[in-house]
C-alpha cells in the first residue's frame, strides 16, 4: 500500500468523545474550554481551600526573580533588627548549610543521583582554602588573596567532582549511595590520618586567614553574614539560569529516564559528570567561607551530621527546587541550631507544633473545643491531685521559663527529681502514640487528651533538659509530619514515581 491510499486527513471522522481529528486547525468551542478546565483540575487541587489557597495563588503569581529579590532584601534587613552574636552565628551556619543544600540540589534534585559523599567536597573546599591561607605550607605559608584562592579552590573541587564522578557515573541508586558514602568517610579518615604535619590530624588547621583581598578584610560576623547572603543569592541566580537552560533540562531528563534521555540525543554520562562537578564547586565555595569564618578546620566538621542536616533541609524544602533547598536548609538550621538550644524557645516550638496540629487536624469544631478544654482541665486536676498527695511531686517546676513557664507552672506535674519519672513517661508516651495511630474515631479523640498531657510532662521533665538529643528527635518528627502533610516538601513540585 502506498501513502495515497490513506483516508484524507479532513474533519469527517469525529471520535465518540468528540475528539477533533488530528492536524485540524485549532478549533474553539465550548468543549475545548471544558477540556482545558478538566485538564487544569490537577493544578487547582494543588492549592489549599479557602483564603489560604488564594494567598498561595497570589504568591505563585509573583515570579521567581522578584521572589529571590524579596528574600535577598529580607536577608539583608534581618541583622538590622538587632540580632545578637548568637543569632548572627546561627544565621551564618544556616546560610552555609543553605549554600550546601542548593549545591546538593543539582546532584540529587536535578540529576537524581543519591550522593552521600557530598560533604567531602565541602571539606575539600575548607581544607584547600585553609592550606592556601595559612602558615602550613612552605616556610612562611601561602597567604594567597581570597580573590584568587576561592576560585582556585572551586575549580579544584570541580576537577575532584569529575574524578569522583568518573567511576561512579555508571552506578545508580543504592550502589551510588553506598560508594559515595564511602568517599565521604574516606575524606574524614584522610584528614584525620594522612600527613599530620600539614593537615594537622584530629587537631585540624588553625590560624587560617579571614577572607581578604583588594584591600578589604572581613573580620566581623556581620560581614560574613552579608557575604554569605550575597553568595547564596548569586549562586541561586546562577543555578536558576542553568536550570532553565538545555543543561538543566538534560539533568532532569537523565533523572527521569536515562535510557529515554540517551535516545533523545542526551549524553547521559557527560551530563551526570557535569552535575557532580557543579555540585562540588558550590560545596567548595561554602567550605572556603566556612573555614575563613571559623579561622580553623577540623575533620569532625565534615562528618555525617552535616550531611544529615543538608539532606534534611533539601528534603524538607523540596528536592528539585532551588528556592526549596535554600528555604528548607534555613528552616532546619534555625530550628536545629537556634531554637532547639534554649529550653524556652524550643518549648514554644514544641507547644506551637502541638497546637497547630490539633487546630489543623481536629474537626468538627465541637470536638476541637472538647479536646482543648479536656486537656487543660486534666492538667490542672492532675496537678492539684499530685500536690495534695505530696508536695515533692510538683516541686520541680517546668524547664520553660518566662510566660510559657508561668502558664505551665500549675498545669504540668514536674517532680523534684524528674529523671526517672520522665524516662518512664517517655516509654509510655511512645506506646500511647502508637495506640493513637491504631485507634479510630471516638477512642482516638479520647486518648488524644492524656497523650498531649503526657507529651508535655515528658517534655518538661527530660526532653527539654537534653537539647542535643531532643533536637534530633524534633527534626525527625518535623520530617515525618512533612512527609504526611506535603511529601513534595515546602516549595517542591508534586512528583510521581515512575515504575519502569
Amino acid at each position: 500500500m502506498s501513502g495515497e491510499a490513506l483516508p484524507p486527513p479532513t474533519g469527517g471522522e469525529v471520535g465518540p468523545l468528540g475528539a477533533a481529528p488530528l492536524g485540524a486547525p485549532q478549533l474553539s468551542g465550548p468543549q475545548v474550554g471544558a477540556d482545558e478546565w478538566v485538564a487544569r483540575h490537577g493544578q487547582r487541587r494543588e492549592y489549599l481551600p479557602s483564603w489560604l489557597g488564594q494567598a498561595q495563588q497570589a504568591l505563585d503569581r509573583v515570579g521567581w526573580w522578584p521572589r529571590l529579590a524579596i528574600a535577598a532584601i529580607a536577608g539583608a534587613v534581618l541583622p538590622m533588627l538587632g540580632l545578637g552574636g548568637f543569632q548572627l552565628q546561627v544565621g551564618i551556619d544556616a546560610l552555609v548549610i543553605a549554600l550546601l543544600a542548593v549545591g546538593l540540589n543539582i546532584v540529587v534534585g536535578s540529576a537524581g543521583m543519591l550522593d552521600l559523599g557530598y560533604v567531602a567536597f565541602f571539606g575539600f573546599g575548607a581544607y584547600a582554602f585553609a592550606l592556601l591561607s595559612s602558615a602550613k605550607i612552605g616556610a612562611h605559608g601561602i597567604h594567597l588573596t581570597s580573590v584568587l584562592s576561592v576560585p582556585i579552590v572551586m575549580l579544584g573541587a570541580g576537577v575532584l567532582g569529575l574524578l569522583v564522578g568518573l567511576p561512579s557515573r555508571r552506578l545508580v541508586g543504592d550502589y551510588l549511595a553506598i560508594v559515595t558514602l564511602f568517599f565521604g568517610e574516606a575524606f574524614v579518615e584522610f584528614t584525620n590520618n594522612v600527613a599530620p604535619g600539614v593537615l594537622g590530624g584530629p587537631n585540624g588547621i588553625v590560624g587560617i586567614d579571614t577572607i581578604h583581598g583588594l584591600g578589604y578584610q572581613l573580620t566581623t560576623n556581620k560581614s560574613y553574614y552579608y557575604l554569605l547572603v550575597v553568595l547564596l543569592v548569586a549562586t541561586m541566580a546562577v543555578l536558576r539560569l542553568l536550570d532553565t537552560s538545555r543543561t538543566g533540562r538534560a539533568w532532569r531528563a537523565v533523572r527521569e529516564d536515562p535510557l529515554a534521555a540517551a535516545s533523545m540525543t542526551i549524553p547521559v554520562d557527560r551530563v551526570k559528570l557535569m552535575a557532580f562537578a557543579f555540585g562540588a564547586m558550590v560545596a567548595a565555595l561554602a567550605g572556603t567561607i566556612f573555614a575563613a569564618q571559623q579561622i580553623s578546620v577540623f575533620p569532625t566538621d565534615f562528618d555525617t551530621p552535616i550531611l544529615i542536616l543538608v539532606y534534611a533541609g533539601l528534603i524538607l524544602g523540596g528536592a528539585g527546587s532551588i528556592a526549596g533547598a535554600a528555604t528548607g536548609a534555613l528552616v532546619v538550621m534555625v530550628i536545629y541550631d537556634g531554637l532547639l538550644r534554649s529550653p524556652t524557645d524550643s518549648g514554644y516550638l514544641f507547644y506551637g507544633l502541638i497546637v497547630l496540629a490539633v487546630l489543623a487536624k481536629l474537626r468538627p469544631w465541637r470536638r476541637l473545643a472538647l479536646v482543648v478544654v479536656a486537656t487543660v482541665a486534666l492538667g490542672f486536676a492532675a496537678h492539684a491531685i499530685a500536690r495534695a498527695i505530696s508536695a515533692s511531686w510538683v516541686a520541680g517546676g517546668p524547664q520553660s521559663t518566662g510566660l510559657l513557664g508561668q502558664a505551665l507552672r500549675n498545669w504540668v506535674i514536674v517532680p523534684a527529681s524528674p529523671q526517672t519519672a520522665g524516662n518512664i513517661g517517655f516509654v509510655v508516651l511512645i506506646c500511647m502514640l502508637i495506640a493513637l495511630v491504631q485507634l479510630k474515631g471516638r477512642w482516638r479523640t479520647l486518648l488524644l487528651v492524656p497523650t498531649i498531657y503526657l507529651a508535655s510532662f515528658v517534655w518538661e521533665t527530660v526532653l527539654s533538659a537534653n537539647p542535643s538529643v531532643t533536637r534530633q528527635l524534633m527534626i525527625g518528627a518535623i520530617l515525618i509530619v512533612m512527609m504526611n502533610a506535603r511529601p513534595q516538601g515546602l516549595l517542591g513540585a508534586r512528583r510521581v514515581e515512575v515504575a519502569t
Partner: protein, 276 residues
C-alpha cells in the same frame, strides 16, 4: 552500501539497512541473520507475534544493544555499537512500547530536552545568556512549539506547562512522538504507537503516520499489532518470528503468507496430520 532489494519504485537510497544482523543473549538467539532496509521517506511495518524480536531490532538500531554479528548502516554509515545518544544525533529517533516520557517534566520541556544534541551552548554560555545562546534557546522553543502544534488540539498550548504525568494515555503516546520529532530525525522508529488506544485514536495515529512522512520527510519503521494501522499506512510489511524474517512485501501478500498465518495462528492441524 547495500542496495534495497524489495524497494518500491520511489525508493533509491536506503536510510536504514541491516545486513545479516544477529544478536544472541547467551544461548538465546534473539535475531538471526536479519536483512532489512528502509528507504528514504518509506513507511515499513514490522509485525510478528510477541517475542518475535521486533523491539530487539529497535534496540540494536538505536544502540541499546550491540549486535553479535552483522552490520547496521544508517544512510550508508555503519552505526553498529555506537552510543545511543550519538545514533540519535545522527538522525534516528524512537518511541517506546512502554512509554518512557520524562514524567515529572512539563510537556514543553519533554520536547525541548530532545533538542540537546541539536544545540551547542555550554553551561557557562547558558548562564551568561549570551546573545547566540539565547537565540539557540529561542529556536529550540519554537521548534518544540511547532511540533506540538502539529498535534493540534491534543497537545494545545495550555498543556505545555503541565507535567507530562497529567496527560491522558493517548496524549502521552502523542507526546512521545513529538519528543522524538524534536531530534529532527531522518528515520523514526515507532514501537506500537496505537497500543492501548481506542478505535478513533487508532485511526488518528494511522493518519498521523502518513502525515509525518508527507510533512516532515521522515522514513518510518513501525512496530504494530493493530492490522488496521499496518494496512492503513505501510508501503511495505516485514514479518518476524523467533528473530527470523519470515515474509516481506505489501500488506496483502504478507498477511496471507502461510508462514505468517502459521506464526500467528499455529499450524493447521489437518496440514500437520498430512505432513506428519
Amino acid at each position: 552500501m547495500t542496495t534495497a532489494e524489495a524497494a518500491g519504485p520511489d525508493i533509491a537510497v536506503p536510510v536504514l539497512s541491516l545486513a545479516q544482523l544477529s544478536l544472541s543473549f547467551g544461548g538465546l538467539r534473539a535475531l538471526s541473520e536479519l536483512d532489512l532496509t528502509v528507504g528514504d521517506c518509506e513507511i515499513v511495518s514490522l509485525i510478528g507475534p510477541n517475542g518475535a524480536g521486533k523491539t530487539t531490532v529497535f534496540n540494536v538500531v538505536t544502540g541499546v544493544y550491540e549486535p553479535s554479528s552483522g552490520d547496521v548502516r544508517f544512510a550508508g554509515q555503519s552505526i553498529a555499537g555506537h552510543e545511543p545518544h550519538k545514533i540519535a544525533d545522527l538522525g534516528i529517533a524512537r518511541t517506546f512500547q512502554s512509554l518512557r516520557l520524562f514524567m515529572n517534566m512539563s510537556v514543553i520541556d519533554n520536547v525541548m530536552a530532545a533538542t540537546y544534541g541539536g544545540t551547542r551552548a555550554t553551561p557557562v554560555e547558558s548562564v551568561l545568556r549570551l546573545p547566540w545562546a539565547r537565540r539557540e534557546e529561542r529556536r529550540a522553543r519554537e521548534l518544540a512549539e511547532e511540533i506540538l502544534s502539529f498535534f493540534g488540539q491534543r497537545l494545545a498550548g495550555y498543556r505545555w506547562d503541565q507535567p507530562a504525568y497529567s496527560l491522558s494515555y493517548a496524549n502521552r503516546r502523542r507526546l512521545e512522538i513529538a519528543r522524538a520529532l524534536a531530534t529532527k530525525p531522518r528515520l523514526l522508529l515507532l514501537d506500537e504507537p496505537a497500543a492501548g488506544m481506542n478505535p478513533a485514536e487508532t485511526h488518528e495515529i494511522t493518519e498521523l503516520i502518513g502525515q509525518l512522512r508527507e510533512e516532515r520527510n521522515v522514513a518510518i519503521l513501525v512496530i504494530e499489532h493493530d492490522m488496521h494501522v499496518v494496512a492503513g499506512c505501510s508501503d511495505r510489511v516485514i514479518a518476524l518470528d523467533h528473530g527470523v524474517k519470515i515474509a516481506e512485501g505489501d500488506f496483502d501478500t504478507v498477511a496471507n503468507h502461510p508462514a505468517v498465518v502459521e506464526a500467528y495462528m499455529g499450524r493447521d492441524p489437518e496440514a500437520l496430520a498430512e505432513s506428519g
